[in-house]
Subunit: 225 residues, 4 copies
């Protein structure tokens, strides 16, 4: 049977793109290689041929999605490294939200990331460490700056959690935005408003923790460790 000999690289790219969509839509387990191939106009064997298997394809999709997300929205925006920590926190949050909500430009990085966080797949554990940890480190650094050198590990950890979780959990409802957000506005505007809120909210939270530290009462649970 005569078949059109595509570029090979093109097939691979198409596969990767479609796979990102389907994985994001249905999750790893509910996605079938058959569907990906069909939607890509490829053969059922294409995935095994090009990627070696469903697992590897998933890893590839994930890696690519995350890297792209980082490329388009660098963790601290385009701020100079010596910008004030509050500004850098805002940039970080802003970039987080973009990754999670801006599907149009990023494929489905955010959704896949979110899914991974709550339903981790065996295959991805390593990738996860490699890519997420740096981000956490950045956040942590900024928070440490804000809390000052007296902060305990636990206090830093708590604040880090508070900030990151506010960003991550946004994507919970399959990308459907909460009802109280204005419909029909460009996504960038919504992200801006969200980032403003989370930054303001978090800075206040961090400030109150820091105030407590300054007050000298920093001994909570410490004696118990």
């Amino acid at each position: 049977m005569m078949t059109i000999r595509k570029d090979g690289l093109q097939t691979q790219k198409k596969l990767l793109k479609v796979a990102a969509e389907v994985f994001a839509e249905k999750g790893y387990r509910d996605t079938t290689v058959a569907e990906i191939c069909q939607r890509s106009g490829s053969n059922v064997a294409a995935i095994n041929y090009h990627f070696g298997g469903k697992d590897s394809l998933y890893a590839a999709v994930w890696k690519k999605a995350f890297e792209e997300a980082l490329a388009v929205y660098p963790p601290e925006g385009h701020l100079p490294a010596d910008a004030p920590p509050a500004a850098r926190l805002r940039a970080l949050i802003h970039s987080h939200l973009h990754r999670i909500l801006d599907h149009g430009r990023l494929g489905h990085a955010g959704q896949i990331l979110l899914r991974e966080l709550s339903c981790p797949t065996e295959v991805i554990h390593q990738v996860r460490r490699d890519l997420i940890s740096p981000l956490q480190k950045l956040t942590r650094g900024i928070i440490m700056e804000l809390l000052g050198p007296q902060a305990s590990e636990q206090q830093i950890g708590f604040c880090e959690m508070s900030v990151i979780h506010q960003c991550l959990a946004i994507g919970f409802r399959e990308g459907k935005l909460p009802a109280f957000l204005p419909k029909g506005r460009p996504i960038a505007e919504i992200i801006d408003a969200l980032a403003d809120h989370i930054t303001r909210f978090s800075l206040a939270g961090i400030a109150v923790v820091q105030a407590k530290i300054e007050a000298g009462g920093n001994r909570e649970m410490k004696s118990q460790i």
Copy 2:
């Protein structure tokens, strides 16, 4: 094979309990009825006999888990309805965390809930609405009290999100607690510490939003709603 002919209700309970564990551990898709039955010491057909199928079992597990969680940890603890909103917020957060983290007593309500939020299953959509909405309403009420009557829908929504997401996303990593938390302490103590932090952090965040409202600057994006 020797089998004890139990009361039937006992088998059903065992099945429900084991199913909760396995579903929480592996998610709906990766859970096999075979494993549940095996771990329960029942026959493969037991699930279909008692529940009608994997789907219905899942729904049953979910419902039970959530109801139990609510029963053991009522949303506002045991506070009187006229307690100050800050105290009620603390109780609410505390109860949330209990539901999510206290596996020992609750089966796996928290994990299952969390999984559902990020990887929703068809079967569960209705239950989801029935059980989660009331909780959101409570949270919302408290936040409205704290922000005052001037607060916009959006401001209320944002604060609600900040609070709830800090609680929900805790359970992300399959129940493994973050490294910075002291190991070996009773879970109740850890939950207390977490609840303290989230409450303090959130009250500060809410306060800063409320301050902004009082300052009269409450016009953000309002014209567009």
Copy 3:
């Protein structure tokens, strides 16, 4: 649990009645004991308890249906044994049709019979012989009378087939009567009309075979046997 202790015999009868309905409706294989028991208001184990198994129940249903059919519509009606053969043929045909078409009074003898003829079940082979053979013998006898002593085995067989098949195949369409029959008339009237036609048609057919015999040409295929 308190249960109403029925007569035992009553349960058995109900079971037999319902089973006849379901078997006739769905056939042996597609009928489940569960459905029969449910429709009978009995326990799943009732069939095994009262009849020993699905097989035996089926046999019992069949036997009863056929016997009832014979009781209500004796093969040759109520004609004296020395009535002219044409009249006895008419009575035979009439009784056949009744058994097959008159569901109201006979349970579903006809449908079950028909099903058995085309989709024979292992269990029933013996019963089949015991009950159907006598009927065939009767038909055969009448036809032999009509054809005269010169008739060959084959000619008798052919005519017998022609007559019986016209009656049996009536029930093909799940009891739905052909469109050309008048709707809304009592079934007895329709059966009368059908019996009239088949009798007239068959007598003519038999006559022409008999004429051929008389003409002396009775050697067809005989040399080949």
Copy 4:
């Protein structure tokens, strides 16, 4: 296990052939895909791959069997359209019988057809209409010619039934020919003899109905139609 990678079409054909045999032998419900695949030397998944499921395979088998039957034995044989109706009736009957009895050449068209008529399967209802109706129309046309323009709907219908039922019911006993037929003769010869009988028998039957019409007594049940 060594497997020959055939053309795919070959496997499909084999599957279709074997399926026809098994379905004819055991009926839809009692046939297992496992058996079909085993007998075909294929994998259990082959049926789903090539046909989509047991249902579709059954439909395919049925369609093919019937079409082949029609192709090999055209309804009116190879008679010119203006042949006398008696000759065309004979050809029609002859072709019917061939379809039902000649397993060797036709797969199992006849048996499957017969089974369908008495134990209709959901899947097949449409196909049934498409393929059987034309045949009935042909038969009807010939009978109308023979009866003349005065014949009532009911008279036509009755005669049609008589003719067709004599042919169809032949196949009742799983293809085992009645005992009175000569054993060991080629099937074609037997079919010829049967066709001769049924034609002669039916022409006589039709003639007597037609005589009744001519005699002017054509009023039976007419007022009720």
